[in-house]
C-alpha cells in the first residue's frame, strides 16, 4: 500500500507533548487544558477558547526522578508523567483537570502540584470525585462535580464560556472528529485492510493530544486518501485481534504486535477509538451537562466502574467488537502495577476464553515497549496459536 500522506507528519508531531499544533493553538490565544483520564469528559475541556491535551510522555527514557517520588511500585505511565513534569515538559499547560480515578494517577498529579512543576501565573489543578457506578444517583454527583470542578474554574479563572450553547459546540466538534475517526476505523474490517491498526492508532492518538479543529483537515484528507487507497492483494497479517486494556500511547506497542503478524482491528483502550470516539447524542429536553455526563458514564468501559452490570457489560462490549471486526483473538494488556487492569485483565482473560470462547493473550507491560523481546515472543506465539486453530477449524 502507498504511504499515507500525513502519517509521517503526525508520527513526528506525537513525539512531543507540547507539539506544533498545541503551540499553534496557544499562539491563537487558546488555553491548553491538561487531562489525565477519560473520566473527565473531554468535550468539557474543548470549549471555545480552550482545548484538551491528554498528558503523555513520549520518548521517555530514564524515570529516576519519577521513581524517587513515587517508588518503583507505581505504574510507569504515572512515573513518566511526573518525570516529564519535573523536566518542565508540561510548563505550557494553563491548568490540569484531574479526576480522583486511580491512586497512581492521582498521586502523579498531586506530585506535579506539590513540586510546582507548572508555573504560569493563573495555572491551577482541580481534583474531581468521579462516579464508580453507572446509575442516576452517580450521574447527579458526576454532573455536580463537573460543574464545580471543571466548568466553574474554567469560567472563573479564564472567563471561558461554559453556556449550553458553548457545550453544544464542543460536542459538535467532538462528533465531527469521532465520525471521521470511526469512518477511518471501518476500513479495518476489510479482509485485506486499507489501513493498518498502527496507522489508525497514529490518527486516533493525535485526536487526544492535539486541538481537534486543527486536525480535522488532516483527518478529512486522510479519509479521502484511504477511500482511494488500493490494499495489498494479500493481507500481510496472519491474524486479526482486538486490543483491550489500559493506556496505550506508545505507538511502538501496536507496531510491535503488527510486525509479528497480528493486525489490531479494534482498539478498546484509554487512547483508542472505543469507546472514546463514540458520537455523543444530544436532545433538546435535558440540560447539556447532564447529557454529556450521562454519555461518558454509560459509554465508559473503565474497570473502575464497580457495579455488576458494568462489570459484565465490559466483557460483552469486547465480544461485540470482536464479532463486528471479525477478530480471531483478543489481546488484553495492562500497564504493570495497575491495580484496576491487573484484576480486569485476569478476570477478562479467563472469562473471554472460557465463557465466550476466544483465544486470549494476556500481557502486562512497561510504559515503553518498543524493544521488548519478551513481548515480541509472546505475540509471535499467540499468532502461531491462532493460525493453528484456523487450520484445525478448516480441517
Amino acid at each position: 500500500m502507498k504511504d499515507l500522506k500525513h502519517l509521517y507528519y503526525l508520527e513526528n508531531l506525537l513525539t512531543e507533548a507540547n507539539n506544533d499544533l498545541v503551540r499553534q493553538a496557544q499562539e491563537e490565544g487558546r488555553l491548553a487544558v491538561g487531562n489525565v483520564c477519560s473520566l473527565i469528559p473531554e468535550v468539557l475541556l474543548d470549549l471555545p477558547g480552550c482545548f484538551s491535551v491528554r498528558l503523555r510522555a513520549p520518548r521517555t527514557g530514564s524515570m529516576e526522578v519519577g521513581t524517587y517520588y513515587m517508588t518503583s511500585l507505581l505504574c510507569e505511565f504515572c512515573r513518566a508523567l511526573v518525570e516529564r513534569a519535573m523536566e518542565g515538559g508540561y510548563e505550557f499547560l494553563d491548568c490540569i483537570m484531574a479526576p480522583d480515578a486511580c491512586a497512581a494517577m492521582n498521586r502523579a498529579v498531586e506530585n506535579m502540584e506539590l513540586l510546582k512543576t507548572c508555573n504560569k501565573e493563573k495555572f491551577f489543578i482541580t481534583y474531581s470525585d468521579v462516579p464508580m457506578k453507572s446509575d442516576e444517583t452517580a450521574l447527579k454527583h458526576y454532573v455536580k462535580q463537573m460543574r464545580i470542578r471543571v466548568l466553574e474554574p474554567l469560567n472563573e479563572v479564564y472567563g471561558i464560556d461554559v453556556s449550553d450553547e458553548a457545550l453544544r459546540k464542543a460536542v459538535e466538534q467532538h462528533n465531527g472528529v469521532s465520525k471521521l475517526i470511526r469512518e477511518l476505523g471501518e476500513y479495518r474490517k476489510e479482509e485485506s485492510p486499507r489501513i493498518t491498526g498502527y496507522e489508525f492508532h497514529v490518527f486516533c492518538l493525535a485526536t487526544y493530544v492535539c486541538p481537534k479543529d486543527l486536525l480535522i483537515p488532516i483527518l478529512e484528507d486522510t479519509l479521502k486518501q484511504v477511500k482511494r487507497r488500493r490494499p495489498d492483494e494479500k493481507s500481510p497479517f496472519r491474524a486479526r485481534v482486538v486490543l483491550a486494556g489500559s493506556e496505550i500511547d506508545d505507538l511502538d506497542f501496536i507496531k510491535l504486535i503488527e510486525e509479528n503478524g497480528a493486525m489490531v482491528v479494534a482498539d478498546r483502550h484509554c487512547f483508542g477509538s472505543f469507546p472514546g470516539r463514540d458520537e455523543i447524542k444530544l436532545n433538546d429536553e435535558e440540560d447539556m451537562l447532564t447529557q454529556i455526563c450521562r454519555h461518558y458514564m454509560t459509554a465508559g468501559q473503565c474497570p473502575r466502574y464497580m457495579n455488576t452490570d458494568k462489570i459484565n457489560e465490559r466483557k460483552d462490549y469486547v465480544d461485540q467488537l470482536a464479532k463486528e471486526y471479525k477478530a480471531d483473538g483478543i489481546i488484553y494488556e495492562q500497564m504493570k502495577f495497575c491495580d484496576y487492569w491487573g484484576y480486569e485483565r485476569m478476570a477478562a482473560s479467563y472469562i473471554m476464553e472460557h465463557e465466550y470462547g476466544y483465544p486470549v493473550l494476556s500481557v502486562d507491560r512497561p510504559y515503553v515497549v518498543g524493544t521488548s523481546g519478551q513481548l515480541r515472543t509472546r505475540v509471535q506465539a499467540f499468532v502461531e496459536g491462532l493460525e493453528i486453530k484456523k487450520i484445525h477449524r478448516r480441517q
Binding site: 511500585l73 470525585d129 457495579n307 491495580d339 485476569m346 494476556s362
Partner: protein
C-alpha cells in the same frame, strides 16, 4: 529476670521453631495475671470447639488451622509488658479472641457445610473487609458478618504464613503479584471455594484501595447472592461530595430492606450511635494521654482493637464500651503513677502507612528493643467526630462520613491533605521526633507520596525510618527484614545502642 522491663532478654526466647523456649517471667503478680489470661483464652477456644458446627468448620476450612496460633499471637502482643500496659493489652486482645470466636461461630452456624441453619443464614447480611458496619445499627434483627475478617484478615495476623496459600492461588489464576496481597488472598480464597457460602445478600464497598475494590467485583461472581456496591466518594474531605455519599447510604439501606424484608429502625440506630460516641469520647482521652510525657495506651494497645470496635463493633456491641471504660481507667492509673511504656523512652514516634499484618507486634519490638514509643498509628487515626443521636437527615450524612473515613481509606484516599499534611500535624500534636513509615510493597496510594515524605520530613527535622513489608506476604520482606531497617537507622544514623541487644537480631522467620 524480674519485675522490671527489659529484665528478661527477650530475643533469647526465639530458637528457630514455631514456639518460644518458655513463657516470660514478669515478676510474680504480672506473670500470674498473664498466665491466667492465657488459660482463659484457651478456655474460650475450647468452648468454641465443643460446638459440632465449629468442629466441622475446623476440619473443612484450611484457614481455621491458623487459629491454633492464637495463644502465641496474644503472647507476641504482650511481650515485655508490665503493669497497666499488660492489663490493657489483655483487655483488648482477649476480647478480640472472644469476639472472633463468636463471629466464626456465626459463620459456621449459617454455613451449609457446617451448621446449615438456613433460617439464621437468611438473617445474615455479608459485608466486605474493611467496611464500616454502622448501617447495620438500624437492623437489630439482622446479623452483619464481615466476610473476609475471620477468613483472611485475622489468620494472616495470627500466623505469618496464614494466607500464603490463597495468595498463590490468585497468582496462579493470573493475578499480577504486584497488587496488594490482601485482596489477592481474598480472591484466592474465593477461587479455592474456601469462604462459607452464607447470607441473604451482600454489600461491597469501594474501600481502601483500587485493588480491594476490584477484588470484590471478581469475588462477587463466586458468592451468587444479590450484592449492592456501595460507592462512597473518594475525595471525602470535599464538601461537595457529602450529599452523594448520603444518597448512596440511602440506596444501600433500601437494598437491605428489599432483600431482607426488614425496616430500618431509627431508634436502634441512634441508641447504637450513642454507644459509638461514648467510645469515641474515651478514644479521644487515650489520644490526649498519649500526648503527655506518660502515654499509656499506645502501639499495639491501640491498633488492632481500634479496628475492631470502630469498624466491626460500630456501636452495636456495648461490651466494647464497657471494655473501653476499664482500659481508660487502667490508662489513668498508669498515668498518675507515671508508668513508662519502655524501660527508657528515647524517641516518640508516629507510625504511618499500613502496618504489616504478619507483624502487628512490630510496635512492641520498637519499644522493647530501641525505646521508641509507637504513640499512634495511621490506621487508628480514623474519625474522632461525634455523630448525631437524633437527626435522621444528618444521620445519612454521618453514615456516609464513616464509610468514607473507614480504616486506612481516610488516609489512603482523599488527597495529600489527609495522607501527608495530617502526618506532620500529628507529629506536632504528639510531640513526635520520629516517623516509622511503613512501606507496604503493594500499596500504591501511600507509595505515591514517597519522595514528598522524604523531603518534608527533612525540612521538619523529623527522623523518618522506612520499613518495607509485604502486608500479608512475609516472603517479600520478613519480620527480620523489617527490624533490620530500623536497626540500621538506629546504629548508622543515630548511633544508639539497643535497650535489649538480644532483640536486635534473632531468628523468628519460622515463628508463628
Amino acid at each position: 529476670m524480674g519485675k522490671k522491663m527489659n529484665s528478661e532478654k527477650l530475643g533469647n526466647f526465639y530458637y528457630g521453631n514455631k514456639t518460644k523456649k518458655r513463657r516470660e517471667w514478669r515478676g510474680a503478680a504480672d506473670t500470674w495475671y498473664d498466665y491466667t489470661r492465657w488459660l482463659a483464652n484457651w478456655k474460650v477456644m475450647a468452648k468454641f470447639m465443643m460446638k459440632p458446627a465449629n468442629l466441622k468448620g475446623f476440619f473443612r476450612y484450611r484457614w481455621m488451622g491458623s487459629y491454633l496460633a492464637v495463644p502465641d499471637f496474644v503472647d507476641r502482643h504482650t511481650e515485655g509488658l508490665r503493669g497497666p500496659q499488660l492489663r490493657i493489652a489483655h483487655k483488648e486482645f482477649d476480647f478480640i479472641v472472644e469476639h472472633v470466636c463468636e463471629t466464626i461461630g456465626n459463620l459456621f452456624r449459617a454455613d451449609p457445610a457446617c451448621g446449615g441453619d438456613e433460617e439464621f443464614s437468611r438473617r445474615v447480611v455479608v459485608f466486605d473487609e474493611n467496611m464500616m458496619s454502622q448501617i447495620m445499627n438500624g437492623f437489630p434483627n439482622l446479623q452483619m458478618v464481615c466476610r473476609e475478617i475471620p477468613v483472611v484478615y485475622t489468620p494472616s495476623t495470627v500466623l505469618q504464613e496464614g494466607v500464603l496459600h490463597y495468595i498463590d492461588v490468585a497468582e496462579e489464576f493470573g493475578l499480577p503479584s504486584d497488587v496488594c496481597p490482601m485482596p489477592a488472598a481474598e480472591l484466592g480464597c474465593a477461587i479455592d471455594d474456601d469462604f462459607p457460602q452464607i447470607g441473604i445478600c451482600a454489600v461491597n464497598c469501594n474501600t481502601t484501595c483500587d485493588g480491594s475494590l476490584m477484588g470484590n467485583g471478581v469475588e462477587a461472581r463466586r458468592f451468587n447472592i444479590p450484592t449492592f456496591q456501595l460507592a462512597v466518594p473518594i475525595r471525602h474531605m470535599q464538601e461537595s461530595v457529602q450529599e452523594y455519599g448520603a444518597e448512596e447510604i440511602k440506596n444501600c439501606i433500601k437494598f437491605i430492606e428489599e432483600q431482607t424484608g426488614e425496616t430500618f429502625d431509627w431508634d436502634h440506630y441512634f441508641k447504637c450511635m450513642k454507644t459509638f460516641n461514648a467510645e469515641t469520647k474515651l478514644f479521644r482521652e487515650w489520644l490526649e494521654l498519649s500526648k503527655t510525657d506518660y502515654p499509656q495506651i499506645i502501639g499495639n494497645n491501640v491498633a488492632l482493637y481500634r479496628d475492631a470496635y470502630y469498624q466491626v463493633g460500630g456501636g452495636r456491641d456495648a461490651r466494647f464500651l464497657q471494655n473501653d471504660r476499664e482500659i481508660t481507667e487502667l490508662g489513668y492509673q498508669g498515668y498518675e503513677k507515671k508508668v513508662l511504656c519502655a524501660s527508657e523512652v528515647r524517641h516518640r514516634a508516629v507510625l504511618w502507612g499500613v502496618q504489616a499484618q504478619y507483624y502487628t507486634a512490630f510496635p512492641i519490638w520498637l519499644q522493647n528493643c530501641w525505646g521508641i514509643l509507637p504513640l499512634i498509628d495511621m490506621l487508628s487515626l480514623t474519625s474522632t467526630s461525634y455523630y448525631s443521636e437524633d437527626d435522621k437527615e444528618q444521620a445519612y450524612l454521618d453514615m456516609a462520613d464513616l464509610y468514607m473515613k473507614m480504616n486506612m481509606r481516610n488516609r489512603s484516599n482523599g488527597g495529600y491533605e489527609v495522607g501527608v499534611d495530617d502526618l506532620w500535624r500529628f507529629c506536632e500534636e504528639f510531640r513526635a521526633d520520629m516517623v516509622i513509615m511503613y512501606e507496604h510493597i503493594g500499596c500504591k496510594a501511600m507509595a505515591g507520596y514517597h519522595g514528598i515524605f522524604e523531603e518534608q520530613a527533612r525540612e521538619r527535622g523529623i527522623h523518618l525510618i522506612w520499613v518495607t513489608h509485604g502486608l500479608m506476604d512475609p516472603r517479600k520482606a520478613s519480620r527480620k527484614d523489617m527490624r533490620g531497617e530500623v536497626n540500621r537507622y538506629m546504629r548508622a544514623v543515630l548511633q544508639e545502642e539497643p535497650l535489649d541487644p538480644t532483640l536486635e537480631d534473632f531468628a523468628d522467620d519460622n515463628n508463628w
